[in-house]
Amino acid sequence: MESRAVRIAIKIGMVLVLAFLYVPLLIVVIYSFNNDIGQTWPIDSFTTKYYTLAWQNSDVRTALGTSLLVATIATLLAFVFGSLAAFAVHRFRFFGRNAVSFVLVLPIALPGILTGIALNNAINNYGIPFSVWTIMIGHATFCIVVVYNNVLARLRRTGGSQVEASMDLGADGWQTFRYVTWPAIRTAVIAGMLLAFALSFDEIVVTNFTSGTEITIPKFIYDNLRQPRNRPIVNVVAVIVLLVMVIPVYIAQKLAGGGESATGGGQRAALRSETEPGL
């Protein structure tokens, strides 16, 4: 079908575009070892001293603590709300059922600035003080859909016959959940939570509007990016963030198994499940 020339051209194009995707990330890693405080290329000498300095930096530590706290609580909330909504949609037919997926994905599908400013406006309007809690509320809202999508996809895949068999054999609702449903969905729940954690840890667009004076790791990068004095530290923090993101996403991918891709098309492609057949 495709001629040889076309095939070669497409392969070359593919390699070039993949390079376009990955070279910038590599550049960030290289710069984190830059001895010079400036950002000119080529780099003259390399060092690891900024890794030590970043680790000792009190702002970085505070930001890391805040980020971990926010991500943990947002993930737990997303776990509860996302799983509940997934069960409701899977087990019941009700008015507005089709709208559930659509509404849950809105915070991710609409520009983040909209969620950000909506929350900021409400916080101001009701005189609520900015704190880790206001950050966490925003994060939980857009994390719910990640858990929801993973759990719902798994529930659809497992089917209902095992649950029926369990009920027929005399198990009550709790036992059926404990011994049949939970083992089937466990890995999907964990995968969803890992992704929610990663998503929260990563977030800046909404956080800027809900954090007041609190500093998260992305906000530390954002605030210090344009300050020459802190450049080397920012370089190092950027690399650490890259690594922190890769690990949970990798594990989530493994847990979710081949058929359903936990990462889907990344965060926003969560939208795609909305048009799944049978919904």
Binding site: Y22, P42, F81
Partner: protein, 298 residues
């Protein structure tokens, strides 16, 4: 009703589960209630309040919000040429980003859909998705490093004798956006290409069409919905972004007007009104996308 009869001997828990088993509506309420309430209050509620705020205005003397219905903010947006320029600039760059991403996505999508053996296909798809999970800010930062004066690109250009620095400009903004949203365009395009039946291509070549002709007359019309579907993300995300422009640009986009109205000017009613601009543009875009059949391709 086996669970109800057997359950009776197991006390409280069984009775509770039997109770829920018999009352479907309560079960549904228990499941849907908490996430529903959270979303109604925290998301839909605040969005509605934002919408209402768009019709309030700031008292120019006291700097306080006047909670009375007025179209003042919208009049400013329509009549002030500054905002028109910003809107045109934002939409223009967003479309340029979409076009760039469609071109860049094609070889990846085509390779994964039609040329790659099964293992390579998965590897390519994962390689495309993975950067989405790298921190958004770090990915912008990477381009700031590359494009800045004295950065890698200037050095590269210098080597080949071109003395040009992209610097912090609309070109830098365009490149960075294209980089950020590329994966979103690849995936639906891949899905669309994969659905093109091989038999159609064979038929086309049997009827004497060469490669280019087959692409233009058979493949392209079939993948248009997929391309449009992918473009929705690239377009919408560019439209609402404010951080890329702050970090690699030197102008203002729609997102910056909103951000500055909240932060610098603390004129939230105006920010709220201006936030409706991308929503309105997106509605038009989605309508066109829907007419082109993009939603079936998502």
């Amino acid at each position: 009703m086996a669970s109800a009869t057997v359950g009776a001997s197991r006390g409280m828990r069984a009775r509770l589960s039997a109770f829920f088993f018999r009352h479907r509506l309560l079960r549904l309420a228990a499941l849907l209630g908490p996430p529903g309430a959270w979303f109604a209050v925290i998301y839909l509620g605040t969005l509605f309040l934002l919408f209402a705020t768009a019709f309030w205005h700031l008292d120019p003397f006291t700097g306080l919000v006047v909670k009375q219905f007025s179209l003042q903010n919208f009049q400013t947006i329509v009549h002030d040429p500054v905002y028109r320029t910003i809107i045109v600039r934002t939409v223009g760059i967003s479309l340029a980003v979409v076009a760039t991403d469609v071109v860049l996505a094609f070889p990846l999508a085509y390779y994964a859909a039609r040329l790659a053996p099964a293992r390579a296909k998965n590897a390519v798809l994962i390689a495309v998705v993975l950067p989405l999970w790298a921190n958004y800010l770090v990915r912008i930062f990477a381009w700031r490093l590359i494009l800045s004066p004295g950065g890698l690109l200037v050095w590269l250009f210098d080597k080949i004798g071109v003395h040009w620095s992209v610097g912090y400009s609309n070109v830098a903004v365009w490149i960075t956006f294209s980089y950020l949203w590329l994966p979103y365009v690849v995936l639906p395009m891949y899905a669309a290409l994969e659905r093109v039946p091989g038999s159609l291509l064979e038929a086309s070549s049997d009827l004497g069409a060469r490669g280019w002709k087959t692409f233009r007359a058979v493949v392209f019309p079939l993948i248009v919905p997929g391309i449009v579907a992918g473009s929705i993300f690239a377009f919408s995300l560019t439209l609402g972004d404010y951080i890329v422009v702050q970090l690699v640009g030197n102008t203002r986009f729609i997102g910056n007007v909103i951000y500055d109205s909240v932060g610098v000017a603390s004129n939230i009613p105006f920010a709220a009104a201006f936030a409706l601009v991308p929503v309105a543009i997106m509605s038009i875009y989605l309508f066109v996308a829907w007419r082109l059949g993009a939603f079936e391709a998502l």
